[in-house]
Symmetry: C2
Subunit: 461 residues, 2 copies
Amino acid sequence: MTLTPARTMPGVLELLPLEQIAFQDMLDTIRRNFERFGFLPVETPVMEFADILLTKQGGETERQVYFVQSTGALEQGEKPDLALRFDLTVPLARYVAEHEHELGFPFRRYQMQRVYRGERAQRGRFREFYQCDIDVIGKDSLSVRYDAEMPAVIHSVFRDLGIGPFQIQLNNRKLMRGYFESLGVASEQQMLVLREVDKLDKRGADYVRETLTGPQFGLAHEAAARIMAFVEVRSTSFDDACAKLDALDGCGELFEQGRAELKDVLGLIRAFGVPESHFALNLSIARGLDYYTGTVYETHLLEHPQIGSICSGGRYDNLAGHYTKSHLPGVGISIGATRLFWQLREAGLLGPATSTVQVLVTQMDETQLPAYLELATQLRNGGIATEVVMEPGKLAKQFKYADRAGIRFVVVLGSDEIAKGTVAVKDMRKQDQFEVPRTELVKTLRVELEQAAAMARAGRG
Amino acid sequence: MTLTPARTMPGVLELLPLEQIAFQDMLDTIRRNFERFGFLPVETPVMEFADILLTKQGGETERQVYFVQSTGALEQGEKPDLALRFDLTVPLARYVAEHEHELGFPFRRYQMQRVYRGERAQRGRFREFYQCDIDVIGKDSLSVRYDAEMPAVIHSVFRDLGIGPFQIQLNNRKLMRGYFESLGVASEQQMLVLREVDKLDKRGADYVRETLTGPQFGLAHEAAARIMAFVEVRSTSFDDACAKLDALDGCGELFEQGRAELKDVLGLIRAFGVPESHFALNLSIARGLDYYTGTVYETHLLEHPQIGSICSGGRYDNLAGHYTKSHLPGVGISIGATRLFWQLREAGLLGPATSTVQVLVTQMDETQLPAYLELATQLRNGGIATEVVMEPGKLAKQFKYADRAGIRFVVVLGSDEIAKGTVAVKDMRKQDQFEVPRTELVKTLRVELEQAAAMARAGRG
């Protein structure tokens, strides 16, 4: 028979089991924190009707959509009416509009699913990737206080992920737009100026200054200089942030509203217990220009600036205007978990691989298999993930297997141990051996495993 | 602006948050058990190359495939080269063939992802649904002992799901085929006879008997009667199963091999600690006629026979013959979680909805918000999922919100309590109120929550 070469499409991250365990661990940590902050889970179908997905977007995103067709529709040459979601925001908007009368508001949901984009194949660019989103959606209105909750969640997630020091950076689109207005930047030009300002990190200050004073914008040198000074504002502490906001020389209602919101939000972030070292002003952040309307966030790993923002989001005015007349303001953040995991792996920041399997019960004597199975059942009922060697083989080979597979404890039950009612245990991590009464086995191993888990948490904290 | 009606495609099960929590709880229980038995996680991309997906299948399945095309490919009128997976077995075969040299064998993997089938829209038929699969894949060979591990996992999963009494039923394709051979059913007719036999539950004994003695098969009445008697065999205990196997009047090598395998497997299932009431012979089970070659399983809820098998699978000879020359025998089972959840909900077997949110911190006095946030942080750091009321409102309304949202504990922190260093707690489930020192709050609530979790587990056990 001719073989079909086994391969995956380009632009997907398929993991080997030990990597998958590490990735799953990351997702579990994110989920645990989302739940601790009182967010409720939602999952939506991977496919949406194309008219739902494509109402809002245009340009780049629309060109990247994957369309879906059943065999029948394809044969009849029909135009596809289904497409794969390219983010979790449009499905959220559709979900909230569809189930509006069955949901409680403010609606706090988390969603962790894969999304699809027909990106040009490129290293570190994915066509299928996990997004982990939280949003709070209000009906008619939503207090700016919720804007302070997002950094508290971000802090909790990345503290628990233990991938090094990080900082949540904030700006406010009202502050920014109000400032530009007070400099006389015409409102139809503000979007374009913001787009240039958004390039500051990538293209540098000189490029942005030249563009602003060039033919396209024709700003006076002083106005350009003030815009540049504005976007260069960073704070070093809570008091410094307040002082820098107070010192801004803008004016007008929108500007003052933005300033007041930012100050409220910064104060509440502190009240949420986020350390001052972990949040700061960064008035260069613009993000999703046509979408966010108030607070905007980015999160950066301080020791790995090249990775860029690992968690971003912001406040928006109306989630689902394409699907419902209800006014649904919201605030949310998103973690691109696949890309983050890939970047951490590339940067060598993932810890050593550990299996989910905690114990291997060896097979010393084939005739004793029922005793090994009984022991495994005892361990499993005690909550310990256990694999049993089912086929006979040399004990040395069984130990080697456990070592390669990242299994921590290897249990040996020979005729001596059976007679004595004990079990011999080898701790592969500590390279330590001990014997315990069989009745004590589960308790002993649980203590060791819980200590290791606590130490891992502390080491990452 | 014209509104686009918010809707999902037919044939998907989109859940409201409290239902999603119950469903997630089911998935978590399944995953926990898969991991306890030492299976390793794998996830594969939702899309595979169409030539990979469609090598093996034909007919029905191929007609149900969803093809995927990027916008660019669609515009150029290209034939789609990607399709959505319709099960987890083909992706597993591709995965094992692709990563063969990086995997340890026997390879024990679990996979819990959604699959896609362009089914005709029909109540209880889903176009997108979760499958939860485990498989053990051997290289060159795989001991029949692994066939006994599958029922042990099934038992553990459904014991923990607590959805009522269930029974795992077993057959062996070698036994069945060998028996038919010994009755002189020509080997090219066996598949067809098995297909008729597979209809026994749905169409009844009379229909099957008439077909077997009718023009298509032309079996003698005695041969038909013996086949009918064979497929009606059920056992009531381990000893009864052995006795019924011993009493079978077949002959030939294949038959004897099947009989020996079944007896080995039944004995080991008992050694795994599965109670005798939970597994039995059912010699009518054929399953996936062109795929399984040895042991086959089904699982039935005893009080809900109309639901059909809730977990099925079996032994196959060679997993990935289309992609590799390596011989990879395996054994596996699959739980269709979406369909199971839907059926349990229809049958009213899902427990009352409980939120993942465990505590609501109320807002009595707006100026005390920082104190509420601090309290919430204390609870969250203690591992308790906590929502804070962020906007002012009547306390009665806040209690009502907690009640509707399924949140168990409502915490009130008034000026009295702040002065005394205490917290007032209302337990919405027990309709009980108490006051605790703030330093004791986390400990007190954790004890209550752990007791409730233990009781829920015991109640389902």
